[in-house]
Amino acid sequence: MATEHAAATRRRLRNAGSYVLLTVLSAVILFPVYTTIVRAVSEPIPYLKSLQAGGGGLWPVGWDGGVFGRVFRTGDLTHALLLSAIVSVVIVVGQVLTSIFAAYAFACLEFPLKRTMFALVVGTLLLPIEVTLVANIETVRDLGWFNSIQGLSAPFLAWAFGVFLMRQAFLGIPGEMQDAALLDGFSHRRFLFRIAVPICRPIIGSCVLISFLGAWNQYLWPRYAADQQEYQTIQVALRTLATREVTELNFAFAAAIVAAIPLVVLLVAFQRQIIRGLTAGAVKG
């Protein structure tokens, strides 16, 4: 009885210790988010004055909750968010569709030079946009797509990683199933969309989410594929806001929070699917 009691006490102590550790780590992760909110809602000049006077800067100075509304109006944030949404949707739809078709060919069809073609697809992993940036900007200019939605999305409409993941998924479909469907007079196209795609819905779902995450968050390409404010995605607009005077930085901080909100919502809603996609091949965000 006494030992049982002691064991229970020890367990409770250990749990308390775990909670302390988890709380401290959460505070470390959330601290920069907290300071960003503080800076966003503080009135900039009083805040900076209090800093100069030796204040800690850890609490809002003044209260300017209206900054979130103003950043939409004066910071052209509505436009940037809309552009980001359009470009991201174009990229997601393009990547997923082209990947489904290519993956089906690699997984379920026989054709000459199959291995060579697959090597060409995998080989593009060695040619990320960081490497091809300078040349692709020239190409986009030649096509007359500088400052356009086509220009912002075209280089990303094919995605080796997506082809990879979906091929893996299609390979998991039993061969007998395909044989039976084809004997029943199904064409490949019909088999693909009536049977293969529905079976692989979970993986396609993960691909959609990971693809959206990457498209929404990308910076380097939209930064250089356009130079008019109209064609600034939200990430590029953040930089423009961040280069303003220190007395106007509250706009940048408010905008950073606004820019992250759609993804926080997605993350909370689809945590499992996103984690499955990230752990399958961790792409850049």
């Binding site: 775990s18 800093l51 290519a102 040619l127 960081e130 910076y219 990430q235 993350l267």
Partner: protein, 296 residues
């Protein structure tokens, strides 16, 4: 499936049609990759061989620089300092990133009431882009108004500390990803293995280093590789946080936001980045080949 050994005429024609269909399905991907991955590679070579004529529309033409330009750039100061900064940035962000991921995942891999809330918080930076993370870190690092403006070893203006300061924002931004990857690996360890190691009387530290770490080492290696790639491709942090100019990585010189380098130099530097990407990928393939299996 559709493969048969008999080579009758109708069989051959179905095979032909299947090949046609396959290339139809592949066409979009092949065209896009040709235009935006392979063609750019050859165009980089072209761009680095010629000096762009500033007055092209007045009828001038590009001037031949020759392969000497590529050699000059790849052995020049821009490449050397860019690669040096990228290498140091990698050495700062990768170990810190893996350790933070381990710490968060070990802390959150417990059966406790409310653990889901902590797991969500730890994975939350997955939702932040590099640009968001950089702006967020301005509240801490901005030289005049950041909370850490007086912390000299995190100053963006000093050559000795600027890179560490930028690294912190990258480590924070990667924390969600590293946490998620390590947690998934920890949760894949079978319960019997944990119980057996506890019965063997291993202490906590010994159990962690002798049992847990070896079991999740493939995931840690995978994570390290992903973080190396992130570090090589880091850009937005440097443009938004604006560390002192001795802390500019290779990609910063390629993108050249301040417009100080000619196109031919930037194209040649891009070829340098390509070679670096090849080396990293080759290393990762060999490492993964050797280490991807448990317990060998």
């Amino acid at each position: 499936m559709v493969r048969r050994s008999a080579e009758s005429a109708p069989r051959r024609s179905t095979r032909f049609r299947e090949g046609l269909l396959a290339y139809g399905f592949l066409a979009p991907v092949l065209v896009l990759f040709a235009a935006f991955a392979y063609y750019p590679l050859s165009r980089l070579v072209y761009l680095s061989l010629y000096q762009r004529n500033a007055n092209a529309f007045l009828g001038g033409s590009d001037r031949w620089l020759g392969p000497g330009n590529i050699i000059d750039v790849l052995s020049g100061p821009e490449l050397r300092s860019g690669v040096w900064v990228s290498a140091r940035f990698t050495l700062l962000t990768v170990p810190l990133g893996v350790i933070l991921g381990l710490l968060l995942a070990v802390a959150a891999d417990r059966r406790l009431a409310g653990i889901r809330i902590f797991q969500t918080i730890f994975s939350s930076t997955v939702a932040s882009s590099v640009a968001v993370a950089s702006v967020v870190f301005l509240t801490l690092l901005q030289p005049e108004t950041g909370l850490w403006r007086d912390v000299s070893w995190l100053s963006l203006n000093r050559p000795g500390s600027a890179l560490l300061a930028v690294s912190l924002s990258a480590v924070w931004q990667n924390a969600g990803l590293t946490f998620v990857v390590v947690l998934a690996a920890l949760q894949a360890i079978p319960d019997e293995v944990r119980e057996a190691s506890m019965l063997d009387g291993f202490g906590v530290a010994r159990r962690f280093f002798r049992v847990t770490v070896p079991l999740i080492s493939p995931a840690l290696l995978f994570l390290a590789i992903v973080l190396v790639v992130h570090a090589l491709q880091a850009y937005a942090q440097f443009e938004i946080l604006r560390p002192t100019d001795t802390a500019q990585p290779l990609l910063y010189k390629i993108a050249d936001p301040d417009g100080v380098l000619p196109l031919s130099t930037r194209a040649a530097l891009s070829l340098g980045l390509f070679v670096l990407t090849l080396v990293v990928s080759f290393t990762q393939f060999t490492l993964l080949d050797k280490r991807v299996h448990y317990g060998d």
